[in-house]
Symmetry: C2
């Protein structure tokens, strides 16, 4: 049953609502990764420790394991004598008992032997054959790292959805895991269309340009936790397009196409998509600038995003519409990164469309952050985005953004924030 279809431009908010009605963005699955490949993956389950860390009481110093009460009264000029009964090394189970009046030599990290409850540092002792003279008292548990004091058995050490950094990988190793359950990366097939695009590295004939989008979008997919599969360039003829989309849908969780300006993505791609499964195309264009010629389809519960051919437009639409979906499918909890800034100029929207303006940000002496638009010139310019720090939004009901007005700027990278604020 085909749900509500709009064969006209829809607003950004309507587009998001229609998409959400037709597709639920959720993790695509789980898999086990060995610790050596777990860096930067997303944890798929809450991790509960099956053991205490450390698993036993450990000495934190080199010295002598004792009963604390035996050392009471020991001072620099008044020693207490204890009988040396043996030695405990790291990595072994102690077979000795430290009874009243005795001491066992112990090294840092070794298990505290039975009946001992503190460790005297070697610096506070004098050894005479089998006798240890203790010159400083210790209190109960002094110089002992207790079993479970770092992590206790049954404790939830890491939460599902966390991205694994070196520290979290250290925690997983600590509780003895050789492999960890992570979310599978969504597989994303990407291709470009258009009679004018040529694969970089090939000969550029007259009237042609090198394909940017399949490469930039593949990297963008990797950046947000997907597994990009770059199919290169597909000619926007019905037969080739049908073959390519069928192949893409058979292997991918998500398909991204871009371009097709000769005939237009509003023509061939949507027609072909509607023959491939239900509900087919659900969005035929968005009242947005840049990025109006964006169509979105759902086929066999797989989203197909057909983005504009202009690189800056397609990367912006990716950022706004595709990235949040992929992040959810990868199990990530992502929120947009925004800062308040002051517009350095009066900015006008394209009438009737939500307008996104790429900006550079600069912190002024007053502490204010100034946002200046990056002249897109014409939206094909790839260098626009490489120069910009983020973008601001002019909503459909706004006539303009005034010079000096405070605006929210969404950042492309967290590092921009740091550069601004230090």
């Amino acid at each position: 049953m085909k749900p509500q279809v709009f064969r006209k431009l829809v607003s950004v908010d309507e587009a998001k609502r229609i998409f959400a009605q037709n597709f639920m963005s959720k993790p695509v699955g789980k898999e086990f990764a060995p610790l050596s490949e777990a860096y930067n993956r997303v944890l798929a389950t809450n991790m509960v420790s099956p053991l205490d860390i450390p698993p036993f009481n450990r000495s934190t110093v080199d010295g002598y394991a004792v009963k604390a009460t035996d050392t009471f009264g020991a001072e620099e000029d008044h020693s207490v004598a204890l009988k040396l009964i043996g030695r405990v090394n790291v990595g072994e189970t102690p077979r000795i008992k430290v009874k009243k009046g005795t001491a066992a030599e112990i090294v840092t990290g070794a298990p505290i032997p039975e009946d001992a409850d503190a460790v005297v540092m070697v610096e506070h002792t004098v050894r005479k054959a089998q006798t240890i003279l203790v010159h400083q008292s210790v209190s109960l548990s002094e110089n002992v790292m207790k079993a479970g004091s770092d992590i206790h058995e049954g404790e939830t050490v890491l939460k599902k959805g966390c991205v694994l950094s070196p520290y979290e990988i250290g925690v997983l190793a600590a509780i003895g895991l050789a492999k960890v359950e992570v979310y599978r990366r969504p597989r994303v097939v990407i291709f470009s269309t258009g009679a004018e695009v040529v694969e970089p590295g090939k000969l550029l004939e007259g009237g042609k340009i090198f394909d940017i989008n399949a490469h930039a979008l593949s990297a963008a997919v990797a950046e947000c936790g997907g597994e990009p599969i770059n199919m290169g360039i597909v000619q926007d003829q019905s037969d080739q397009m049908k073959t390519a989309l069928k192949k893409a849908l058979s292997t991918a969780d998500v398909v991204i196409t871009s371009g097709g300006v000769s005939v237009g993505p509003t023509d061939i791609i949507p027609k072909v998509l509607d023959t491939l499964g239900k509900p087919g195309v659900i969005i035929y264009g968005i009242a947005i600038r840049p990025g109006k010629p964006t169509t979105i389809a759902i086929i066999g519960n797989k989203p197909v995003f057909s983005l504009p051919g202009h690189p800056a437009s397609s990367l912006l639409i990716f950022h706004l519409f595709v990235r949040p979906v992929l992040a959810s499918m990868a199990g990530k909890k992502e929120a947009p990164l925004t800062v308040k800034a002051v517009s350095s100029e009066r900015l006008f929207p394209t009438r009737g469309r939500r307008t996104y303006i790429t900006v550079t940000l600069k912190r002024e002496k007053s502490g204010r952050i100034a946002a200046s638009s990056v002249p897109t010139g014409l939206s094909g310019a790839i260098t626009t985005l490489a120069k910009a720090d983020g973008f601001l939004v002019i909503h459909e009901n706004q006539q303009f953004i005034d010079k000096g007005q405070i605006v929210d700027v969404e950042l492309f990278k967290p590092s921009v924030h740091y550069s601004l604020m230090r």
Copy 2:
């Protein structure tokens, strides 16, 4: 010839100076990466565009290519008639000339034909058979994206040392590169030592703990642009250690060991290292807390960092000493990320040692950022670092840091900064 050797603790500054005297941190080499594997790699040369982007004057709209002067005087109620002489599609070299009084149909992205110098949007025309009635004048170059207007031939588009994001990969594709020269990742062999450590996933016998360091350090190496090679656990017996270090040095650019508390890294590892090449061990311990039992050797121009066994200590020493070296070897320009914060408590150093205290940060209502120490308890605790946002430093000549004192806190991740400031 063996340079100056210190067989005693050296200060942090001395350690850095001695290291710099014995090893020059610089990129380990260059290699070509296909664009599909270039994401997050470091550019090894300045990139100069071999061509104009776009390579030809392009139409930015659907309409008619004309001579602008032919349209002067055209208005809504007064059209100018031009003779239609053909059509230009995208991806082809136009074979027609637009002489005075003529127009050529053109689509978005197609090359402007010879002698035309502007494009009239289709919305401002009426077509009658082979005659185009133009109802709005265009100025010179209107609706034309000029050759080289995004990137011009010979322009430096990206600088050496830049980390390749989707936008930079788009720029590389735009100028036609199928592969790009990037810095080779330094190969880093990592192993743990100690009679008490067991590989995660294996059976944990009495007195043993799971090895954390080789796994956490491998991820830390990957994070700063190195290629980790995890050799697992090596027993700290002279023979095994010699075999392991020889093997490591034969394949790696850098070697990292950790632990060895039963005998101590100040014993076996330095002795073995001194038999393997010159200058051998150059640092036998650092006046730092945590992390004192750190030794550093240079053998055959390869650094060998022997870090403490305590996970929190070894990761901190990695951050302070190893990470900057690896980043330089990977061709990256990294600067520490710091913020000003207010200490929530009075903090004391360990006498005579530069003291690093891990802290959590919190922005207060007043806008101040408060730094609170994370109780390390005992420095073996791996969870300490997973909970901390960064660390502050108490220098050797400071008696304490007072409650309310303003301090520099170095952050573990840029995202911490964003979370604090929004």
